[in-house]
């Protein structure tokens, strides 16, 4: 799949995943990896950016096995941003789909 396509929706997918439930890094990366085939390394910088822009925040939680895990939690600003992104995506994909049908 075209890598530019993936980059565009990655932010939307990551926010969607953490909007359901708080996730720690690896959990999140595996879940996103199921939907888009993307280099796992690239999701962490994205998470960093989302955190700095206050769309999500992090906290540490002890786990039964191994060291403390860093969880990502969506913020209210993130939820509003996600709503905007989802609307934009739905509208955009609809327009493109219609255009493809029209041209065929």
């Amino acid at each position: 799949m075209n890598p530019q396509f993936k980059k565009g929706v990655l932010e939307l997918i990551v926010l969607l995943v953490i909007s359901k439930e708080d996730k720690y890094g690896y959990q999140l990366v595996s879940e996103v990896g199921r939907i888009v085939d993307v280099n796992e390394g690239t999701i962490y910088p994205l998470l960093k950016r989302l955190t700095n822009e206050k769309y999500c925040e992090t906290y540490l939680e002890q786990s039964a096995e191994g060291p403390a895990r860093k969880y990502y939690k969506i913020t209210m600003a993130g939820k509003i941003y996600l709503e905007i992104l989802t609307k934009e995506w739905l509208q955009f994909s609809q327009t493109v789909n219609d255009f493809i049908k029209e041209m065929q």
Binding site: G41, P45, K48, N52, E53, L60, R69, T75, M76, I80
Partner: protein, 322 residues
């Protein structure tokens, strides 16, 4: 490539970042590799999955570059986002408190309001003294203007003090309440016993027990960073309220700060000119007033420009591509 080699290379490529950020991102990759190994992959495989190290480093730096812009440019959007998140945290926190805690906070809040009133007294006294002194000099229209400015400043000081006190009150008394862990355990246990007859009920009680417990560090009993709490109940309505608050805040900033700021600037500049004209035409001791007006107009221009930048400045910056 071994783990050490990989991180040495990555660290070298990220040397432009400060130590804390570098450690942050490298810790994430370290734990990612740990998880992969737990899932049955080899270390080399896990590292190979990251792909080309140069591309990866470029990707990370790219994300930081955007960050730097975003944090450097503290736009209105940034302030609103921080504000919304803070309000949301506070509402979540309050909704998760027990009745006795809420009663405690209300009593404390009344004391805080009283303290704010007490602190405002000396400011008001100074304000009144200066104003009566100004009237005593019988400066006419200019005296009234200066009295108005003094009054405005003293009110602003009062508002700023009240705001700071309430903010620190929420930060210290509402947000960081240290609950006692055994209390939860005992409370939930008795509940489970009383509802032992009803299996479904007992089930939810146990669930809430583990949920409360998950908020505390098992070893120290200290609360972990605040998680989603019972505040979820009020989510859909608080969603709407927060959207409304953002809109109100925007309008408030514009109407209550920006417009008066512009008006004050124009007024002060005119006052400066009038006092200069008076000084030249009458030639009498208006130097002091002339300088005060000039100084105030410079301050006022500065403040207005700053607020204009906050309200309108950040808007140009749209979300950049990843």
């Amino acid at each position: 490539m071994t783990r050490e080699e990989f991180f040495a290379k990555l660290d070298a490529r990220l040397s432009i970042l400060n130590e804390k950020e570098r450690k942050d991102i490298i810790d994430e990759y370290q734990s990612h590799i740990d998880f992969k190994i737990q899932d049955g992959k080899t270390e080399a495989q896990a590292i190979a999955d990251f792909g080309d190290i140069d591309a990866l480093a470029a990707e990370i730096l790219e994300a930081y570059h955007i960050d730097n812009n975003a944090t450097k440019n503290k736009s209105l959007e940034y302030y609103i986002k921080s504000c919304v998140n803070f309000i949301n945290e506070v509402t979540e926190r309050i909704l998760s408190l027990s009745l006795s805690d809420i009663a405690r906070i209300i009593v404390e809040f009344i004391i805080v309001i009283f303290a704010i009133w007490l602190i405002s007294l000396p400011v008001d006294m100074i304000n009144n003294t200066i104003r009566s002194a100004l009237w005593g000099f019988s400066l006419g229209g200019l005296g009234d203007l200066l009295a108005g400015i003094v009054n405005l400043f003293s009110e602003l000081i009062n508002i700023a003090i009240a705001f700071l006190i309430i903010y620190s009150f929420i930060k210290t008394r509402v947000m960081t309440k240290t609950p006692v862990m055994p209390k939860y355990a005992v409370k939930n246990n008795t509940k489970s016993e009383t509802s032992a007859g009803n299996t479904a009920n007992a089930h939810t009680e146990t669930e809430s027990f583990s949920y409360e417990q998950a908020n505390f560090d098992v070893h120290t009993g200290k609360p972990l960073k605040h998680r989603k709490t019972l505040g979820e109940v009020g989510k859909s309505s608080s969603d709407f309220i927060i959207k409304m608050l953002v809109a109100i805040l925007k309008v408030f900033l514009f109407v209550c700060i920006w417009l008066p700021g512009i008006a004050a600037t124009i007024g002060l500049v005119i006052a400066t000119f009038i006092s200069i004209i008076l000084l030249i035409s009458q030639g009498i001791g208006l130097w002091g007033i002339c300088l005060i007006c000039a100084g105030c107009s410079i301050v006022s221009i500065g403040v207005t420009v700053w607020i204009t930048e906050i309200i309108f400045g950040g808007k140009k910056k749209k979300y950049e591509e990843i």
